[in-house]
């Protein structure tokens, strides 16, 4: 166990000096009983990348995202995160998940805890931070998203947009190296989408590495450093946003864009 840890530390060090991608996905496959949700996906995500993943429903984009932190167990393939193969069953995935923040479509705040408790639970229980430290950091981040007055509220007292901003802050409190967004605005009323996108835009401007699964094409065009189009469990096209939206190469992407734009 200890050995594995030191090996991982060495791998991480080697990764840090090598300038390799933050996340390297190699030929990732995921099958549910009859269905191949992911059929060989390979992609590199560099530090500071803001990668948007779009595609029709059932294309495997959410499965892809959820495989990145192994909420979904990949059937085949490799994911190197900071130089460590996190698909290796011997890897302690919990340690690496601390460095991969995740934001869900349904927010998934903890309803039995105040907002402040939601934000400090992870840092205190997992990272050994003191209450003062954790709360100070939480307050700082709450202020950034304009919700410092809701620290003592409970999730049920918040609007959808506020819940999602809190969910983003909860992930940020762990000081992650990458943020994974799984359709963060899909469950929101239209008038609340903007406030969540504003927070994400801020993060992107701060060079946070982000992988975003979304249907917000205009937002992708504006914020993404790279856009990936998935269909039938495969990456069909991948390009910078201008190229992606103005000059789509494949017919599938052209058809898709014609429908959604």
């Amino acid at each position: 166990m200890k050995d594995k840890k030191s090996v991982n530390a060495a791998l991480k060090e080697a990764w840090a000096v090598s300038g390799s991608p933050l996340i390297q996905v190699k030929d990732l496959k995921k099958s549910f009983k009859e269905l191949d949700a992911l059929d060989g996906v390979s992609v590199d995500i560099n530090k500071g990348d803001v990668v948007f993943v779009v595609g029709p429903s059932g294309s495997g984009k959410s499965t892809f995202l959820r495989c990145l932190n192994r909420l979904e167990e990949p059937t085949e393939g490799q994911i190197l995160f900071e130089g460590v193969d996190i698909t290796d069953p011997k890897t302690d995935i919990n340690l690496h998940r601390q460095k991969m923040g995740m934001v869900f479509q349904q927010f998934n705040l903890f309803p039995h805890m105040s907002i402040m408790k939601n934000l400090t639970l992870g840092p205190m229980k997992l990272q050994g931070k003191s209450k003062e430290e954790a709360e100070a950091e939480a307050k700082r981040l709450l202020e950034r998203v304009g919700l410092s007055d809701r620290a003592d509220a409970y999730p049920n007292q918040l609007s959808g947009g506020q819940k999602q901003r809190i969910a983003i802050v909860r992930a940020l409190c762990m000081k992650p190296d990458v943020m994974l967004f799984d359709e963060p605005t899909s469950a929101l009323d239209p008038e609340m989408v903007g406030e969540v996108l504003a927070v994400m835009r801020d993060l992107a401007e701060e060079k946070m590495t982000m992988v975003v699964v979304t249907h917000e094409m205009a937002f992708a065009k504006e914020v993404a450093s790279r856009v990936i189009f998935m269909a039938d469990g495969k990456i069909v096209e991948e390009a910078a946003p201008d190229e992606f939206f103005e000059h789509p190469k494949t017919e599938r992407l052209q058809n898709f864009l014609a429908k959604v734009l």
Partner: protein, 232 residues
Amino acid sequence: MNFITDFTNDFYLNFIKEDRWKYIVDGLGVTLEVTLFAVLIGIALGFIVAIIRSTHDKTGKMKFLNWLCNIYLTVIRGTPVLVQLLIIYFVIFGSVRVDKVLVAVIAFGINSGAYVAEIVRGGIMSIDAGQFEAGRSLGFNYTQTMIHIILPQALKNVLPALGNEFIVLLKETSVAGYIALEDLTKGADIIRSQTFSPMMPLLAVAAIYLAFVMMLSWLIKVLERRLRNSER
């Protein structure tokens, strides 16, 4: 006037004469003792079984333990508690001298555990899968996620059902007289057999059960309200 004289005489005969009230008070003590410790065993057993079963449901691990738990639940819920009590007293502890209170605590505790287990498991399974994923995505392992995120919510949801189970348990202990344990019901029965005047001791005992059940119901309601308030 006749009625009042009859009542007074009856009361004297059943409760005052030869200190017969002691059967009721001592019996109540035994009933409460058995219920309290059986509840504790029931909670402990129930939670362990519920966690094993829901872990198996969620992850497919713990196959053998889950199999054992299933046998326990099937047997205990499929046979009358009185039969279980008699088996434990006359068969399992048949050849050794053992405190009857202890036997009753074990029997009712094991019995209650099976019902608590299914209540708690229902509570765990009713929590949205997203809560589990949110915990895991922060880096909590399975056990930590259970302790900090799932169980507190599950417990709150099942509190009324758990309270009800404990009320049932309190009343169920009244069959302990079958192993000659002198609990509240048995106390009334002893008085009845001495005085041949069944109405008063039995009604008194019924009133005492009722009072305790109402008190428990009230306590559970208060607790429930307090827990719910913390979410608003």
